[in-house]
């Protein structure tokens, strides 16, 4: 199990905060073939992302392999300065990654 690395930042947009995450991942859908050998590249994609604000679940995203390579996700939460947003992701292979950002 490898660690999924990603970047996380939160922007104050007035009524809400926009949280943006940029993951580093091949997002292999499991349908793509190696043209030379005909072998199918095994599926390897992030399928679940959870976001918590101060430990309370705020958003869960579920993805298929149709999401682009090095995927980007933006979502919005309400909150105040100092709130902690924790984002964690899991791939179909069981790789995980977690990061925390403070709202400002």
């Amino acid at each position: 199990m490898a660690n999924i690395s990603f970047r996380l930042k939160a922007e104050n947009k007035g009524d809400f905060y926009e949280v943006k995450a940029l993951f580093k991942h091949p997002m292999e859908s499991g349908t793509r073939k190696n043209k030379a050998t005909g072998e199918v590249y095994p599926a390897d994609f992030i399928n679940e992302i959870t976001a918590k604000v101060n430990g309370t679940p705020a958003m869960v995203a579920e993805w298929s392999g149709a999401v682009s390579q090095n995927p980007f996700l933006a979502f919005r939460v309400t909150g105040k300065a100092g709130d902690k947003v924790e984002v964690s992701c899991t791939s179909n292979k069981g790789d995980t990654g977690t990061k925390t950002v403070n709202l400002a």
């Binding site: 199990m1 793509r32 869960v60 995927p71 979502f75 909150g79 899991t90």
Partner: protein
């Protein structure tokens, strides 16, 4: 993996597991259990049933779907769904009609979450993108056509 196994063994047993298997999203319960069944469906209707338990959704101007009309690169098509004008948004699902598995992603909200999601999708050919939003127990949708000049699913 440990976390998933733990959740599957613990929280997701019993009634919740039944509900998830039947394709009914329990509102406000944000559970970590990837809906594998929904992500194996081959059509929009099947995907809708697996995610929302219904296939019909009303067109709504409050579901703001932002997708390019022409995508030069089908491997990276930015799609944004903004339903923050609606109240009690429970979940959002995005479908790319002609993809092998049309259901591309879902997002469920609870607590501090606002009905908004932005992702980038892969698309093999020109097709419609449909955003479905569940708000206050009802389904709403918006549709937008994306012309793809270079497909993004090939090897």
């Amino acid at each position: 993996m440990k976390r998933r196994t733990f959740l599957k063994a613990g929280l997701a047993t019993g009634a919740t597991a039944v509900a998830v298997n039947a394709g009914i999203l329990a509102p406000n319960t944000v559970l970590a259990a990837w809906n594998e069944k929904a992500f194996k469906t081959k059509s929009v209707d099947e995907g809708m049933t697996a995610v929302f338990g219904a296939t019909s959704a009303a067109d709504s101007a409050d579901v703001k779907l932002k997708a390019p009309s022409i995508a030069e690169n089908g491997a990276v098509v930015p799609v944004e769904v903004n339903a923050s004008a609606m109240k009690d948004v429970e979940s959002i699902a995005i479908f790319a009609v002609k993809n092998p598995v049309p259901l591309a992603c879902t997002a469920k909200f609870s607590g501090a979450g606002v009905g908004f999601a932005s992702v980038r999708l892969k698309m093999g050919e020109t097709q419609d993108v449909i955003a479905v939003v569940k708000a206050g127990g009802k389904l709403y949708k918006a549709k937008s056509e994306v012309k793809v000049t270079i497909g993004g699913c090939g090897g």
